[in-house]
């Protein structure tokens, strides 16, 4: 059973991305109506818009929150070929009793791309304040803010060119034996080659390079997401494509000492339609996949380490109606008669400690 709370968004068009901050108390939404809205949850659990502004001159595809240790910072990317970084500042105080309003100011606009910027994501905090963008022309750019107190400077650190247009990217947030730092996917449908690429920082070349391609996935890819690593010795990447894929990546060192990447791909066809988005939960124990069939599927790993679809959430239906949850044992008649029997019970209900 689910408790559902509905929030009305003032967006004029479909929302492209809904992203929550680190604590789940702030939300950023962006839309084809070219605006970004920032929402806050108050102490009673009510959500309301605290800021909304026109951020780009084209549809905004994605939003990303930076880690709170860098402050309140978001990045957006758009069809208008730019990505921007925004920071929240306190406004001026009008009088002593007035609460100054907080507003979001543009810190920088990254104009390097010649085509639509399809994805933007902040890197895991241990790398510093870094940002990666993926463009439709296949170029990945990694920017870094050298001064965490001054977010107006974001020089480009790496540029990686790819032959195919890119639709999505994902940072690997694990700190465990990380060789593959970034994954990117292409939604190209013309060539029959692998559509998921893995990148790493090469100490020799002193730059970020592509180290591998997941050849099992040749259909257009619309979303990739690395799973947060909660103690695993391998990495998991979820891929949204014609079907849902979960890719296990393991670094294998052979007898000569060289480390190769062992890639195992598992395919899930439950959706029976293209899968557009994937999202992991905090411990990577559950996965959400968005299908074109109006359904969202929740996946869980059972204790045999196999992924199974655990629930389906459908958009259809007249109103919020729910199928009953797995049955509860019923004992209505006897349960209410329990009270007086506790006094005669042979087991005391308070357990002294000493």
């Amino acid at each position: 059973m689910f408790d559902v709370e509905t929030i009305t968004a003032d967006h004029k068009d479909v929302i492209h991305d809904v992203v929550f901050d680190y604590y789940g108390r702030r939300m950023a939404t962006c839309s084809s109506d070219q605006t970004v809205m920032i929402w806050d949850e108050d102490a009673q659990g009510k959500w309301s818009v605290t800021s909304s502004w026109k951020a780009h001159s084209g549809s905004i595809w994605r939003v990303s929150w930076a880690h709170p240790e860098f402050g309140q910072v978001v990045a957006t990317c758009s069809f208008d070929r730019t990505a921007s970084v925004w920071e929240e500042v306190i406004g001026e105080k009008v009088s002593t009793t007035n609460t100054p309003t907080r507003r979001w100011v543009r810190r920088t606009t990254l104009v390097d791309s010649r085509t639509s910027v399809t994805d933007v994501e902040f890197a895991p905090k241990y790398l510093g304040l870094l940002l990666a963008t993926a463009s439709a022309d296949g170029i990945i750019r990694i920017y870094e803010a050298p001064d965490i107190m001054n977010l107006s400077q974001w020089p480009v650190q790496h540029e990686i060119a790819n032959k195919l247009p890119l639709s999505c990217l994902s940072w690997n947030t694990s700190t465990y034996m990380v060789t593959q730092l970034l994954a990117a996917g292409s939604d190209d449908s013309a060539t029959p080659t692998g559509k998921v690429f893995l990148f790493a920082y090469s100490d020799n070349a002193r730059k970020c390079v592509k180290i591998d391609t997941v050849n099992d996935i040749t259909d257009p890819v619309t979303d990739v997401a690395f799973a947060p690593n909660a103690g695993r010795t391998f990495h998991m990447l979820a891929v949204a494509s014609k079907d849902l894929y979960i890719v296990n990546l393991r670094g294998v060192t052979d007898s000569t000492g060289t480390t190769k990447l062992d890639i195992q791909t598992v395919k899930f066809s439950d959706h029976n339609c293209p899968v557009w988005r994937v999202c992991w939960n905090m411990l990577a124990t559950m996965l959400i996949s968005t299908g074109d069939d109006g359904c969202v599927r929740l996946w869980r790993m059972n204790y045999n380490k196999q992924w199974r679809c655990a629930a389906v959430l459908k958009a259809e239906g007249g109103g919020p109606t729910y199928e009953p949850a797995p049955q509860t044992p019923t004992l209505a008649a006897t349960a209410s008669a329990t009270a007086k029997y506790y006094k005669k019970g042979t087991i005391g209900n308070q357990v002294p400690w000493h």
């Binding site: 609460t99 005391g348 209900n349 308070q350 002294p352």
Partner: protein, 356 residues
Amino acid sequence: MSFPTVSSHFVSEKISSVRWLPEQLQQSDRFVTGSWDMDQNFVRLYRLQSNQYADTNVDFVPRCNDKVAIEGDVTAMEFADKNTLAVSCADGHLSLLNMQRAVEEDQLQRTARSERLHYFKRTNKSSPCTDLSVYGGDIATVGEDGCVNIMNASNIKQVKRTIEADSMSLLSVCYISQQQLVTANRMGVIRILDARASTAAQEKISIMVGSKDEKSSNYVSALGTHPMQHHILLCGTEEGTITVWDLRNLQFPASYLSAHESAITDIAFHRNDPSKVFTAAEEGEVWMWSENKGIGDRNLHDGKSAWLSGDRLRSLVNVDGVLTRIRKAINSFDMNGPRLICGGDTEAVYLVDNIF
């Protein structure tokens, strides 16, 4: 000699503060608890009743008689008089609650709530009120805004004085006399303030507790003064150590004791028997420190409390574990004659009888 008996009672709330109701002539059988970190926080009034379940060796069981909902975490509670409880809250306000003792059901009611006492000036956001102290008819509160507010219990809507004591959060406050109070902050700096003077007129006297490793910080989380000799100040720190200051001589601490392995959450002299000091720690223990009542020693420290004896302190006090291995923090305790009541994050209150 009878041994201390401990009984635990689960109350479904994390307890941040617990106090016996003051009684003049008899042992108190009522106490109040304040909760924190819950979806809804309450101050509850409990009364000890005889245990109807004869098969356990627990004599008394607390029953909740009444409760008052509080807007945020309860951070501290003190009785301003026999029936009035001052409660400081994380929403930056102070409340006064009135107890009505009755034969059947005692009652608890909020009689006053202050204006917003603590807030951050730049953003106008409320700041938690972190501690309070009472003396005479006055109540002093401190908050994360680094300010001290002094009010009279008869009218808490009017702040008599605000002192901007610190530019960081204050963790604890304690009155030493009607005019003087001490505050402690997260750096382990203790300031002695004059309740009658404005911020600018304060003499800016401060002392600092040391830390075991000079590269680390050590906050002072608990303050306690001797019931009669108010110049004796006990400071419980983050490292679990106790630093004792003789406020007449601020050059260096009077004594230092390495006590618990975790932060000290509460420290106090026994109200009626100052030869006993109690400390509670984050790791879930409450210890009792009793001065050795050896005959020879009496002459040696001539009425001076053992706590000021510097290096000799360790040999002059015995320590007993009154409550141990609780696994989660004990946040507060209060004593009433031979009884001690403690509460913490295990969502239980512990009643210790026959502590001496």
